[in-house]
């Protein structure tokens, strides 16, 4: 109970940070070890956009981050689910910072945005099974 109260107090203290924007960025940094956004778009903007960029266009340097825009490998939801959980090449495994629910939400988001049109629902169970 005490530890719960401390967590609650910490969360309150963070939320009370006065000058943080109250937009989708308001949820950022609420935990040092996990992402706390729940909406697919918010999750995308808080983590995926860091490498795959805001419009899913990817980026190229000495190596590259693949574009998610118009990306046919997203057709089977199991593929992005697996890559998010376990990582692949330069992509770090994110299964420890995102919950099954968050992964389902963000996979649903990338499969229906950036020119992708795979509207079949992504279930939490699919994510759980892929762990």
């Amino acid at each position: 109970m005490k530890s719960l109260m401390i967590v609650a107090a910490a969360a309150l203290a963070m939320m009370a940070t006065p000058t943080l924007a109250q937009s989708d960025a308001a949820m950022m940094f609420a935990s040092p070890s996990k992402l706390t956004q729940t909406d697919g778009k918010d999750i995308y903007n808080a983590i995926c956009a860091g490498c795959h960029m805001a419009e899913g266009q990817g980026a190229v340097g000495a190596g590259m981050y693949p574009a998610l825009a118009g990306n046919e490998t997203l057709e089977a939801a199991g593929y992005p689910i697996y890559v998010i959980i376990h990582g692949q090449k330069a992509m770090p495994a994110l299964g420890n910072v995102l919950s099954d629910e968050q992964i389902a939400a963000v996979v649903g988001y990338i499969r229906t945005n950036f020119g992708n049109n795979y509207p079949e629902e992504v279930t939490v169970q699919e994510v759980t099974d892929s762990r």
Partner: protein, 528 residues
């Protein structure tokens, strides 16, 4: 550590320390007692025997690549280095005023620091036991100065402790130690350790706790001149009529514990952070510059490797201009030292073995964020008497490190406004650079209200967006199972870099790995 000569075995002592003070103290004690590893560097490498004109192509002009280049040329090899960037150093990197940093995605940061100010986005400290880095600094004429890690006058801060008011490290450290010593003394005096400690040792333990925790004659940790000598005074000793000091009141045990500010008390006690620690005068990339002066003529810059092809007779590497100019070129050599981070290498066409390929493809790179913030004046020195060292906080910036150089100087100065990992780094990575900096200023202002008034400009480097590495250090999928494969010679190629070491993310790891790779390569060559 000698001085524990009491008849108690080392294992018993460790068990006691572990029980009394927790695993961190245990680790520190183990370090002191000689279990912890220091660098295996054993002095300048000697590659004896004639390589008979053998050639080596080195991929990457970071510290691993340049160490290999320097030593192999000295040993008589023909050496060529291909580097993606326009300059050498790789992650041994410094940003100064006038620099322009373009990150992945195209965001541009024009660094506006005043002359002489800088930030090291990558490595920033050289521990005293990183003999390889230190030796090369000496050989290359790179001047070093002390890096201040622990500063008892810096702060420990949590938003949920002491109403968010930062506490001086000195006060929390002294009070924590004092209270813990008092408690342990109580246990001894209640004879609760009789089965663990001999009567003679118990006496000495009490005596030591009195010294260690600054306890009074009743083994109590109380407000006194003695404790104030450690935790600071309400009114410090002065001269003249009103010179008498006024001691300060220790913070109660429960408040110290509940604050969780003890979490960072021992950070500076790990072997990588114990004094003495150094930094190159003028920025970490002075090491890269030092190497470049000696072997810069071997480096082809702006060379983006696109293909690595090795066969029975040699290695052929195809590269293009990093800035997109048309045309492919090739470089060939008898052997290859590849220091390209696996995050990049996995995207390059190559014909390494299947085993090596699977290791390369399974290594991801950690995210990390660092902020360099310039302020109009050194308010931390002028207002708060903080000269170097680190303040720790539970805010997303995690820490503030004050410059360990040019103390007392007028004019603007740059501090490290944050250094974060994990979920925090991911989220900063997803923000545009100017928003990252703005947040670092907002957060830092909760510790130093002067931030708001004094902030001038800043940069924020998130390592997943660094174009030539895509992260700050390699994370193994299964190091135990994969390490030997990654370190083994694959055809005519040996991998080197911090990732092929047990000092991940440290420059020492890059250098030791390069020295090991060229030593094994040389054996193959002179034996051939």
């Amino acid at each position: 550590m000698s001085g524990f000569e009491t008849g108690m075995s080392r294992r018993q002592l460790l068990a006691m320390i572990g029980t009394a003070a927790g695993s961190v103290a245990m680790y520190n004690a183990m370090t002191s007692l000689g279990f912890a590893q220091e660098s295996t560097y054993s002095g300048p490498i000697k590659l004896e025997g004639d390589p008979k004109g053998a050639s080596v192509l080195i991929l990457g002009a970071g510290l691993a690549g340049m160490t290999a280049a320097l030593e192999l040329r000295d040993a008589g090899y023909k050496v060529q280095v291909l580097e993606y960037r326009e300059k050498a150093g790789g992650r041994c990197w410094t940003l100064r005023g006038g620099d322009k940093y373009v990150e992945l995605g195209g965001a541009v940061q024009d660094v506006k620091f005043a002359e002489g100010n800088y930030i090291n986005p990558g490595p920033w400290r050289i521990p005293h036991h990183h003999y390889g880095v230190l030796d090369y600094c000496q050989r290359l004429g790179v001047k070093l100065e002390p890096f201040m890690q622990v500063n008892h006058n810096a702060y420990l801060h949590r938003t949920d402790a002491f109403d968010g008011k930062p506490q001086r490290f000195r006060e929390i450290a002294t009070d924590y130690r004092g209270h813990v010593s008092e408690l342990l003394a109580k246990v001894v005096n209640q004879n609760a350790l009789d089965e663990t400690v001999t009567a003679d040792d118990a006496k000495l333990l009490l005596e030591s706790l009195k010294t260690y925790g600054v306890l009074d004659e009743n083994y109590a940790y109380v407000k006194s001149d003695d404790t104030s000598e450690f935790r600071g005074w309400d009114k410090p000793p002065g001269g003249g009529v009103d010179g008498a000091p006024v001691p300060s009141e220790p913070i109660a045990l429960s408040d110290v514990l509940q604050s969780r500010l003890w979490a960072n008390l021992v950070t500076g006690d790990s072997i990588d952070h114990q004094g003495t620690i150094f930094q190159p005068v003028g920025g970490m990339d002075m090491i890269a510059v030092g190497f470049e002066k000696v072997i810069g003529d071997l480096i082809t810059y702006n060379a983006k490797v696109t293909k690595i092809d090795q066969n029975d007779t040699g290695v052929t590497v195809t590269y293009v201009d990093s800035n997109g100019a048309a045309g492919e070129q090739t470089a060939t050599a008898d052997y290859c030292i590849c220091t390209i981070p696996f995050s990049i290498l996995g995207q390059i066409e190559h014909n390494f073995s299947g085993e090596m390929t699977s290791v390369i493809d399974s290594m991801s790179y950690a995210g990390s964020v660092k902020f360099g913030l310039e302020f109009k004046r050194r308010f931390w020195e002028q207002d708060e008497r903080i000269y170097g060292g680190i303040t720790y906080t539970n805010l997303p910036i995690s820490q503030i490190s004050y410059p360990s150089n040019d103390y007392f100087s007028d004019g603007p100065a740059v501090l490290l406004g944050g250094y974060g990992w994990g979920a925090t780094a991911y989220q900063f990575n997803a923000l545009p650079p100017e928003e990252r900096v703005a947040k670092a200023v907002e957060y830092g202002a909760q510790i130093h209200p002067q931030y708001t008034e004094e902030f001038s400009n800043g940069v924020a480097v998130t390592w997943h967006r660094v174009p030539w590495v895509l992260g700050c250090y390699g994370i193994w999928a299964d190091k135990e199972a994969q390490y030997a494969t990654a370190a083994a010679m694959d055809g005519r190629t040996l991998m080197a870099g911090e990732h092929i070491s047990y000092l991940p993310a440290w420059q020492e790891g890059a250098i030791l790995s390069a020295l090991d790779a060229i030593t094994r390569l040389h054996k193959v060559v002179v034996g051939a």
